[in-house]
Amino acid sequence: MWSFMLHDLITGAPICPLELDSNQMGRRINDTDTGRSSFTIPSRMSRAQLLSTTQPRSRVLVKRWNGVPRYAHVIKTRTWDERTQSVGLVHEDLRGAITTRRTTFGSNGYSGNLDINNGLVITDTALVSVPALLFWAGSEGPTPNYDLPVYLPEGKLTNALAHSLALPGTYTKTWWDYDGKIVDTAMREVQDLDGGPDVFYEPRYDANGWLQWLMRIGDLSGATADFNMTAAKRKFFDGTWEENDGNAANVLYAFGNGSERGKKVKTAQTSPTLPAAERIVPYGDEESDSILQSHANADLAVWKNPTVQWNGSTFAEVGIRAGGTVRLYHKDHPVHADGWTSLVLLGDSSDLTNQIPLSLQTIGAPG
């Protein structure tokens, strides 16, 4: 069954359990999720305790299934409703609440007027290694209140660890401090490149019940859940399927820096079996031909096929890792081919019931 615990953001320390009257929260790979909750103030909780334990930005609401963290949202807003005598919370996942509010300045911060330019320098690095370096820049600053309990599989995410694990590659980029770059914005730039890695911050507990986020980067498909749609008692229900060609294109143009005839453009296209559909994607002041071509290739890979969106629900006890593979088995179905269809779990959401609506997509489709 669901239970809730409030934790401190910086340390991950548990603060107190909470009984909620309503709750809606979710998780999404490569994206953010915002949720809402409400609760009646427990009689044991003083005003000071209430205000401390629900302090926006400082506290994290962790939603657990049978004691295991499934969702973790940072509190953004709290409200008081005089009529219902209840406290309302608006909360958002780590990516939305924090990485959109941290810069790439890193441990020395930035105050301008420097003798030399300072920035986050990435040189000849594999794309899959860049998100950890970026996140580190946002989790260290000139004061201790930048710290976050975010871990890589090898240990707590630090500058030294991220650099020691960085794989060699072809990606080179400097985010100068004077550009004022936000971590999440830079992260999305990297993820949108051809071969850009998936990223998901997965909540977990350490041995003492302190909250951590495991930063999963790259291939997130390590878990599989099978649902046999021909079974009398199936655990996947309320399914819908949609094939949408509205955004598909088989000729992609990546526009970069310059104007008129001097504007940099790179093109990618598939063999012309379907009627032509063109799509132009601007990449601002990008001057690198190779990066523009990479964008064009990546965009073509994303958009060459219609978007196939699957939705459906399962039960909380099934427990699928975000980014994992969901397989559906059909036989003699009016729409779906016989056999297994493999999908990726983009995310899910839940309320106080044990039913979990899933957001699924065909593997390889736009994420």
Binding site: A223, N228, A231, A232, R234, Y329, W340
Partner: protein, 258 residues
């Protein structure tokens, strides 16, 4: 009305309660003459209808049976108030927070049928003056199916299952033996193939009602290449064969009634 019904929390048969339709009137739970409803006969059904536009009628769509609801009302009688108190506590246990499902079994008309359901209501109101009380038990079952005998075939490369019920029975296969490359179950043109290694001493369970492959209590995903499912028709037989190393299959079926 002559019947004997028993009910107990699943896994706790020692807490069994017995309800009778025809006495004895001085001890135990006795159901009123018209107090036992919902167990016999079918249930209502539901369908999602789409009406034909500018034509008569609707698009054909089959209906599906609703869940079954059963209610038993009657009197509880005991020799002493202490005995009644003991009975009340066993009865109220059924509606307690730590009881998820209950086994409900009814003997009547020369047959015994059972199903596992949920307690919606367990009311017990003592008279106060004599050691007697009124009770009402309301149960909910996820579908209308009732079951009779449970049989398991011997482990072999071919297992024939019989269903003496009147509607399709689901099968649960237990796979033993060993084969590093998994095995294939077949029946009547349908196939279930898994590449999950079969290890001696660690049997697999293939539940054809859910489609789950379970090994050592864990549901295995991503290891089944073909996952056709089959059951045993009412009054019929089905043979399941297995190939793959020394793998053998034992099939369990419950006589199933609608």
């Amino acid at each position: 009305m002559s019947f004997i019904a028993t009910v107990y929390p699943v896994g706790r048969p020692a807490a069994m309660l017995t309800m009778r339709g025809d006495g004895p009137w001085d001890d135990g739970l006795v159901v009123d003459a018209d107090g036992f409803k919902g167990w016999n006969g079918g249930v209502s059904s539901h369908r999602d209808v789409t009406m034909r536009q500018n034509r008569r009628g609707a698009h054909p769509v089959r209906s599906y049976g609703d869940p079954r609801e059963v209610r038993a009302n009657g009197f509880a009688n005991a020799a002493t108030h202490e005995d009644l108190g003991s009975l009340e506590e066993r009865f109220s246990l059924l509606g307690g927070d730590d009881v998820t499902t209950v086994m409900f079994r009814v003997e009547e008309m020369g047959r015994t049928r059972w199903a596992i359901g949920y307690v919606d209501q367990a009311v017990f109101v003592p008279d106060g003056t004599i050691p007697s009380a009124q009770f009402s038990l309301q149960l909910w079952f996820e579908n209308a199916l009732k079951f009779g005998e449970v049989r398991t075939t011997a482990a072999a490369t071919s297992a024939t299952s019989v269903n003496y019920g009147n509607t399709t029975a689901s099968l649960v296969h237990t796979i033993t033996g060993a084969n590093a490359g998994g095995y294939t179950l077949t029946s009547g043109g349908k196939t279930f193939t898994t590449t999950q290694p079969l290890v001696a001493g660690i049997p697999h369970t293939v539940d054809m009602e859910t489609g789950d492959l379970i090994v050592a209590g864990v549901t295995i995903s991503g290891k089944t290449t073909t996952a056709d499912l089959w059951g045993v028709p009412g009054g019929g037989t089905v043979t399941t064969t297995i190939t793959g190393g020394t793998a053998k299959v034992a099939s369990t079926v419950k006589d199933t009634y609608s």
